[in-house]
């Protein structure tokens, strides 16, 4: 592609030099006309985007805030502002508190698990040359697979009697459980599924990070007597992965906060509220219970958490990306 560009450029330089010189002789009114036509073209090209950004992003965000401040219900023709009443209701609601705590616990399981396994597998893959693509493909597979369908496969795997998990545990004499119907186990089990799905994603980001570590650093560490791979890991690899580490942390946290499919398919938030998480609460309150104002208030809280995380990520990226 580089060659295509340079051919086009050369041809341009060869053919159009006289024209370009003429351009200096253009009158100011011609220049102004040219500027105006460029502005017109720009708005024609960017107009649809501006329109759709406003209609599909900015007005809806505004709408969520407005709905959260009113008592409006689906289908109602009137509404009145109720101030922060919806938020007071949300924060005094035991169900929402459980949902928030569950989500945070779930994130606290998924993020470290995903990062440690993703990093470990990336290091193992990079430590040799054979079968790299093969191993990468296997570990990345769950990230590509339709989670709704795979959740149904997990359900069969965790089935109390015919599931492979309980069959295996029983065969080696360990206690079995009804994994998805047990209040103390359901959240960690969903966490395992979350790790299973995301670790390939973390692995790929770590692999990219590992590739960008200059060989010189390893040579220098060699000279300094870092003979064991553990030494090289601690003195070169992990410190150099610092920014990637932070980045993966936040991206995986964002994904974990947005977990919905496994809750919807496997548990519906149950048993009790044991596996209820924010996005499921948002969906159920807004679209099943039709508690519109309450749902909008949950959406605002959710937005606040995610935007905070994303802004932290943007700062990290800024520090990492120093070109441009």
């Amino acid at each position: 592609m580089g060659s295509v560009m340079s051919i086009a450029t050369k041809r341009f330089r060869a053919n159009h030099r006289p024209v370009q010189r003429d351009a200096h002789a253009l009158s100011t009114s011609d220049l102004r006309r040219h500027r105006l036509s460029e502005i017109g073209a720009a708005w024609l090209l960017a107009g649809p985007t501006l329109f759709f950004l406003i209609v599909l992003f900015f007005l809806p965000v505004l709408g969520v805030f407005v709905i959260a401040l009113t008592d409006w219900q689906f289908g109602a023709s009137t509404l009145s502002f109720v101030g922060l009443a919806n938020f007071e209701e949300v924060f005094s609601d035991e169900g929402f508190r459980i949902s928030l705590v569950n989500t945070v616990l779930y994130v606290a399981i998924v993020v470290p698990g995903t990062i440690l396994l993703g990093l470990g597998i990336a290091l193992l893959i990079e430590s040799g040359k054979s079968f790299r693509a093969f191993y990468r493909a296997i570990h990345f597979l769950p990230y590509m697979a339709t989670l709704t369908a795979m959740a149904i496969a997990w359900e069969a795997l965790l089935h109390p009697t015919i599931g492979l998990v309980n069959q295996t545990l029983a065969a080696i004499g360990l206690p079995t459980a009804n994994w998805l119907r047990d209040e103390s186990r359901v959240l960690p089990v969903l966490g395992v599924i979350g790790i299973w799905q995301n670790l390939g994603f973390a692995m790929v980001l770590f692999l990219a990070g590992l590739k960008s570590i200059p060989q010189d650093l390893y040579d220098a560490a060699d000279i300094d007597g870092a003979d064991l791979w553990v030494d090289r890991l601690w003195t070169v690899t992990l410190p150099m992965l610092g920014p990637v580490f932070m980045f993966v942390f936040i991206v995986v946290a964002l994904k974990a906060f947005e977990t919905f499919d496994t809750v919807q398919v496997l548990t519906q938030g149950g048993p009790g509220h044991a596996s209820e998480m924010l996005l499921f609460t948002l969906y159920r309150e807004s679209f099943q219970y039709l508690r519109t104002g309450y749902g909008a208030a949950v959406a605002v809280v959710f937005l606040f958490i995610l935007v905070t995380l994303t802004l932290v990520q943007a700062r990290v990226m800024d520090r990492k990306v120093h070109y441009q």
Binding site: P48, L53, M144, I152, A153, L157, W229, Y283, G295
Partner: protein, 278 residues
Amino acid sequence: MSTHRFAQPCTILRHAALLFTGALILIPFAWMLSLSINPPGEIFRASFSFWPQHFYGIENYTQAIAKAPLLRFMLNGVIVCTAILALQIAVCAPAAYALAKLHFPARDLLFALVLIALLLPHEVLSLPLFILGYKLGILNTYAALIFPYVVSPFGIFLIRQFFKTIPDDVVHAARLDGLSELAIVWKIMVPMALPAIIAFGIFSVVGHWNSLFWPLIAVRDQSLMPPPLGIMAFRNEEAGNDYGPLMAAATIVVLPLIIAFLAAQRWFVEGTTGGAIK
């Protein structure tokens, strides 16, 4: 380069460890496949084996296709994903060009709007978008599944970054050859930015093929359901404990993306993790 980084005796350990984790990762897939070829009698027997004594795959798969309109779900997925991607490129590429190559007042403001939109998680917008769909009278149609995604802030961002690496001289040369700005976008810029367009295409198709949240809100008719919603409805209504056909249906839903991924691994890894910028 890396053989130097780690000692040789580790090679066997490396393979052992990676085969072990790889096998663990594959268990849900293997279990799904295994149940999908087992007869009901063997699934509920105490001594279960991955490969059935009586191969029951044909019965399970034909039952799955007969009981649930699986092919319809897949067709819906193809229609919705294609329409979304086509609209996204049609809307985003010209805007990306304007942001990368043209000078106009409020350009920075427009780009700031794109970046802010990039921040917003789509689920938060679902309530107002549902109301908008209702007012437009398009709920429970293909249009309902498509309209929230007509513009992709990530697509604009990605394509703009790529357009910026194309020299201005190319644009000037095209103008002097008499091409209109729109023709420059489609005949010069987009073909040159094909790698970015393909990466974005994979990101978009994978995301929308797998998505459950918005389809769950936007459509009710089974004939409109994309694959994830379709298989969930099939599980809830028909299959119950009939694991053979249910796993056959799950396999059919998962298969297209897996095959595409295995065929074009590098593109898929790049496309779906490039989205991490979001």
